[in-house]
């Protein structure tokens, strides 16, 4: 849509300005050449009003050959050709109109050689059109950068909502249904156990909802959540699941994004315990060294399992969350050999939220 033609108000202002320029030109011409103001204005006003319409085409040219998509030589060529073409048409019309005006008033308006008159008209015409083109190109560039800004903003919004969604979906539905099945199994022969598992499950969900709503939680809080999760999984997997924790006391008060380690533990149990016949030991460790925090999760793996390419969606989300929170200061790295899989989170040790 043309920025001027598409808006009645803008078009009116545009035409009024040109009209004023037309009358002013009549005045200047009269005082420069000594011709009568009425005659020069009758000559100049309609010509400039027509030219105002021709200048609107500048916008279409700048839109069709935008600077960011077209080579500079092509733009220069198009600009040059259009200037010559438009000015030439305008000059022809002016020349014709001049003779008509001179016939109507039976005067010779300008006492100059015809070549000079034509050159002056052409010169004025091309300069006006150059200004129109320049303004149009500026407008297109401005519009382009504004669009780019808006797109970047939309992308950020999208990323944020995707992150929220991912956070909400982090807890595996298998976990819930399998836990409920365990409770159902315990009900008949171990009612006390069924009740305690129900409580642990409720605590886990309550805490994950509570922590999930916060921006940051302490490592101590995150670990308490992990321990609830482990308590439930120990009932499900029995002897197959054992855990070793190696936690640096100084790290407990550090703040981290909530539920950061939870998906790592879920992963560790899935690949290290649920997918292996004998199960094994999951190692959780946290270390604080000067102002850096290192969080690690290690699990045994089935040596016959097919090697997974990449780190998987869960890991990608954790990595993204670290990068969103800490930029280059946060990272996730995975290490794998025949027997173990380890993931380490690197982040700044922040004592204040």
């Amino acid at each position: 849509m043309h920025p001027i033609l598409s808006d009645k108000k803008r078009l009116t202002i545009y035409l009024v300005i040109w009209g004023m320029v037309g009358i002013l030109s009549g005045f200047i011409l009269a005082s420069l050449t000594g011709a009568e103001f009425l005659h020069t204005t009758v000559f100049a006003f309609p010509l400039l009003m027509i030219y105002s319409q021709m200048n609107l085409s500048a916008w279409y040219i700048s839109k069709a050959f935008p600077l960011h998509k077209t080579s500079i030589w092509r733009v220069l060529l198009v600009v040059f050709v259009s200037i010559v073409f438009v000015s030439a048409i305008w000059t022809l019309m002016a020349w014709g109109w001049l003779s008509i005006v001179e016939q109507i008033f039976t005067v010779t308006l300008f006492q100059y050689p015809p070549v000079q008159i034509v050159l002056v008209i052409f010169g004025v015409g091309d300069q006006i059109f150059i200004i129109s083109l320049a303004l149009s190109y500026l407008l297109v560039v401005f519009e382009h950068s504004r669009n780019a800004e808006r797109r970047a903003f939309e992308l950020r919004l999208l990323a944020q909502s995707a992150e929220l969604k991912a956070l909400r979906m982090q807890i595996d539905p298998h976990f819930l249904f399998n836990s409920l099945n365990s409770i159902s199994a315990l009900t008949a022969h171990d009612p006390e156990g069924a009740r305690s598992m129900t409580m642990t499950l409720a605590d886990f969900f309550r805490k994950s909802l509570m922590f999930g709503a916060k921006d940051v939680i302490t490592l101590k809080e995150e670990l308490s959540l992990l321990n609830h999760y482990l308590d439930i999984e120990k009932i499900r997997f029995g002897k197959r699941l054992s855990v070793q924790q190696n936690i640096d006391e100084a790290a407990l008060t550090c703040f981290i994004p909530p539920l950061l380690m939870q998906p790592l533990l879920e992963n560790a149990i899935k690949y290290g315990i649920a997918d292996t016949l004998e199960g094994g030991t999951i190692l959780i460790s946290a270390q604080k060294k000067s102002n850096r925090l290192f969080l690690a999760m290690e699990n045994p793996i089935d040596p016959d399992a097919p090697k997974k390419k990449g780190t998987g969606l869960g890991m990608d989300i954790v990595k993204k969350r670290l990068q969103t929170a800490y930029g280059d200061d946060g990272d996730l790295k995975t290490f794998v050999n025949e027997k173990f899989f380890q993931v380490i989170l690197f982040l700044p040790a922040k004592e204040k939220s």
Binding site: P173, R236, T276, P306
Partner: protein, 248 residues
Amino acid sequence: MKTNKIKTIIVDDEELARGLVREYLLTHPEIDIVAECANGFEAVKAATELSPDLMFLDIQMPKLTGFEVIELIENPPAVIFVTAFDQYALKAFEVHAVDYLLKPYSKQRFDEALSHAVEHLDVRQPEKTKEIAAAAKPQEQILERVLIKEGSKVLVIPVEKIDYIEAQDDYVSFRVEGKSHLKMQRLAELESLLNNRHFVRIHRSYILNIERLAKIELFAKDSRTAILKDGTQLPVSRTGYDKLKELL
């Protein structure tokens, strides 16, 4: 009287989950629990040795899924699938009117599934069970491991350990670490399942893991031989050679 009992196997990797099936079966004296299995290997072994009538089969288990267990049993019994959450499988179960239980399940739901399965024991069709298992299995885009049954033992072979595969009548022979393993399957089917950037059908009868290829020699017009790193020589057809050329 005892011979009329329905021989049943319970398969689940979780002790508590097996306990629940056992408990629910207490009110069904016609059921005789002949085995409880904690994983797919045990399940295939028990099913082969005991030829049960009915099997409660968990789907998510280590090493072998419930579907893979069915794939490996020659003459599968009637099956009641048990799963916690598996949208893909549920759709297939609904379509094929299969008996399944969603964890956690009620005694009533359990009894319904059981009586339905028992009613249809006489008309059970092992081939249909296999078809359903194949349909309900999550469609892997690319085959990552091959399951082979040798006697009542199950081998799980990651595809990257395969050197080459040779067609032998109705069977295919997998060459892995100096040993050959037979499986009833068609080579064309395997070819379509394997990652075609690593496994190339070099000949009507051969699929080669290109990691093992050392060089290709021309020994007659339009007839080439692939020499593997361990010295094995395999024939290469013209189209096979074109495929190799494209990849390398």
